[in-house]
């Protein structure tokens, strides 16, 4: 038990230490680690992203608490949450104390100029995994390439919800909370009552 809690702490420490850009940047790392350790299923990761949108607080803390509590219980939640915030605390105090001009440093900026585009690519990858599940019923290890090998099932209601949500978010600047609740309602109508 102690060993598992320590693994959880250090896994989320790693996630916290390598998340640049906050929030969404953390999704691909959390997706990779929690699936690799078997702490969450692919569906739970997606649900977690949705739950985080409709609950207050930083995604990292929501995700860590959810993953830890789901896998082990309250102690797991505490271990993961402490793990994910520890790098923030250590690094921020270090910078506050010693490097006030940290973010103006040329080397730091050069390193970030490489990391930030990569993070965008990683978020796109996490989105593609979730899209594969939602639209094509792929599992988290399969990619679009598997669509050619296997008989692909395409979920038209999912495509419809995606397109409408995307337009509403981009054009109307609607708050994500409203989008999530609306999609939940439409999801019940289309998938549970089969109105699609």
């Amino acid at each position: 038990m102690i060993e598992l809690l320590a693994t959880m702490f250090f896994t989320f420490f790693k996630i916290g230490a390598f998340s640049i850009g906050g929030g969404y940047a953390m999704i691909p790392l959390i997706q990779h680690e929690t699936l690799a350790h078997g702490w969450l299923t692919a569906r739970e990761v997606t649900d977690l992203v949705a739950i985080s949108q409709i609950t207050p607080g930083p995604f990292a803390v929501n995700a860590a608490t959810f993953a830890g509590t789901k896998a082990v219980g309250v102690l797991g939640g505490i271990a993961c949450t402490l793990g994910v915030i520890a790098p923030s605390i250590l690094l921020t105090l270090l910078v506050s104390r010693f490097f006030f001009n940290f973010q103006k440093n040329k080397t730091v900026q050069a390193v970030l100029s490489g990391m930030c585009p990569a993070v965008v690519g990683l978020i796109l990858s996490a989105a593609a995994v979730i899209a594969g599940q939602a639209v094509f019923s792929l599992d988290s290890k399969q990619t679009v390439l598997d669509l050619f090998a296997a008989k692909a099932s395409v979920s038209l209601p999912a495509i419809l919800i995606f397109i409408v949500a995307f337009i509403v978010i981009r054009k109307c600047k609607v708050h994500p909370i409203l989008v999530v609740f609306a999609a939940a309602g439409v999801g019940v109508l289309l998938f549970a009552f089969g109105l699609g």
Binding site: P56, R97, F102, V119, G121
Partner: protein
């Protein structure tokens, strides 16, 4: 100017101030949806305007630093506010304050989720949500891409990271490290980061 700020940190917050910092960041943590930059205007109102623990200039500094540091942006920002307001102990208190509401809410919610997740209506609702989540994430990609992906080298890095993560299943942490090294090396070539006047605050 920044060296002076360092000296000011020596003051310690009193017990009453610590309690106030905790209550205030707890409140902020409980009402901030989405984390990240959403928290900045709240920190400014509570700690700069209402309490004068820090100045508005501090807030700008804090935004710039907390987004350049790894970790949770909103927690980074809170810790810096706490540190400037009253040292290390105050920083820890603000971190605890802003984390606790999410932690408590999610602890309860996770049990609730586990209990209802297999209900067919809940499953259907989450199926609908997951399609919308893809849209939200794509929106984040476009928004972040606009500021982070501006030249050929950045495009290559972004696409390479996507291919390595999605098709090859490589852990994002290694990709981020590799991209940081490449970003550093590229800065010695015409393709990489070039410091420009006025760009330092970006």
């Amino acid at each position: 100017m920044n060296a002076d700020k360092g000296k000011q940190q020596k003051r310690k917050a009193s017990g009453k101030e610590l309690l106030d910092l905790f209550a205030c960041t707890f409140k902020i943590g409980a009402v901030t949806f989405g984390g990240g930059y959403v928290i900045i205007p709240m920190l400014q109102r509570e700690f700069s305007e209402k309490r004068q623990y820090i100045s508005n200039e501090d807030i700008l500094d804090i935004v710039a630093i907390s987004q350049s540091l790894p970790g949770v942006i909103s927690i980074n920002a809170c810790i810096m506010v706490g540190y400037r307001a009253g040292g290390v102990l105050a920083a820890l208190v603000t971190a605890l304050g802003v984390v606790l509401p999410s932690f408590l809410i999610l602890s309860v919610l996770t049990y609730f989720y586990a209990a209802v997740a297999n209900n067919p209506y809940v499953t259907a609702a989450f199926m609908g949500i997951s399609a919308a989540v893809v849209a939200l994430m794509l929106d984040a990609v476009l928004r972040l891409g606009k500021s982070a992906v501006k030249n050929i080298a950045a495009w290559v890095l972004m696409l390479a990271a996507f291919i390595c993560a999605y098709f090859l299943g490589i852990n994002g942490i290694y990709l981020i490290i590799a991209a940081g090294v490449l970003g550093f090396l590229l800065s010695f070539t015409p393709f990489g980061y070039k410091p420009e006047k006025g760009e330092e605050h970006d």
